[in-house]
């Protein structure tokens, strides 16, 4: 079955996104990734959980890059384990936020934000 999406493609191309638009859309995805990491991070003092932040590295009309992750010195030890202690358990919380259902939720959040923007533009 072939679906003719040419009019949809034309409509998409006619929407001129600014860098600010793209950042607003992308930030919805960032929030999902941050929440996923904060939910999964093991908590003793909550220092690592509280340090999980978003750092927007690049925003252009074509690209939005957000570097999200924890900032405590020992955060990688929780994620990857310790090289000097092979039996130290790994407790991953960053990598799972980028795959599986977390990735789907992120894409869904971005898609919803994009849809809202298109609808808003279409109405005005």
């Amino acid at each position: 079955m072939t679906v003719d999406d040419s009019s949809f493609q034309r409509s998409m191309k006619s929407i001129k996104l600014t860098a600010l638009d793209l950042m607003k859309i992308g930030k919805n995805g960032s929030a999902v990734v941050i929440n996923s990491q904060k939910e999964d991070v093991p908590r003793l003092t909550s220092a690592t959980g509280n340090s999980i932040q978003s750092h927007v590295a690049k925003v252009t009309p074509e690209q939005f890059v957000d570097e999200i992750g924890p900032e405590t010195e020992y955060a990688p030890v929780i994620e990857y384990g310790r090289a000097d202690m092979p039996n130290y358990p790994i407790q991953p919380y960053v990598r799972p936020s980028a795959v599986g259902s977390a990735a789907k939720d992120t894409i869904r959040a971005v898609g919803t934000a994009f849809g809202k923007l298109v609808e808003k533009r279409w109405r005005t």
Partner: protein
């Protein structure tokens, strides 16, 4: 019903290079006390399941495979044996069907207190039960 980690371990030990390098010292989650170098540890990072209207379709599992050795070149060589054995593999392992294995990262680390090296491999595996 065997799990993925056990099947991957068995699959790795079928390789002559890996068998001669590690003997049987590829562990899952827990490394036996006093294990000689080199040895490897397999851990599951995360596993997600894709569904269709017909039910479970495929599972995506990310494994972390740590290779330890007190010699840098042997550590790297042993890790390469594992990487080469797994990279791009698809086929049947016991009661599992492996769609494809992608080796995504290979970090290297020196542990000054333990006086050994760690080579950390990440494998993304799409699989399902037969």
């Amino acid at each position: 019903m065997a799990d993925l980690e056990s099947n991957i371990r068995t699959f790795l030990l079928q390789d002559a290079n890996i068998e001669s390098s590690f003997d049987d010292r590829i562990f899952i989650d827990y490394v036996a006390d006093g294990a000689a170098y080199p040895f490897a540890k397999i851990s599951t990072v995360t596993e997600s399941t894709e569904y269709t209207m017909d039910g479970e379709a495929i599972r995506m599992t990310m494994l972390q495979i740590d290779v330890y050795d007190d010699d840098k070149s042997t550590c790297n060589a042993s890790a390469v044996y594992i990487r080469d054995k797994l990279s791009g593999y698809s086929g049947v392992l016991s009661d599992l069907v492996i769609g494809r294995i992608f080796m995504t990262n290979a970090r290297s680390e020196w542990a000054p207190e333990a006086r050994h090296f760690r080579r950390m491999l990440e494998a993304e595996i799409g699989w399902t039960y037969v």
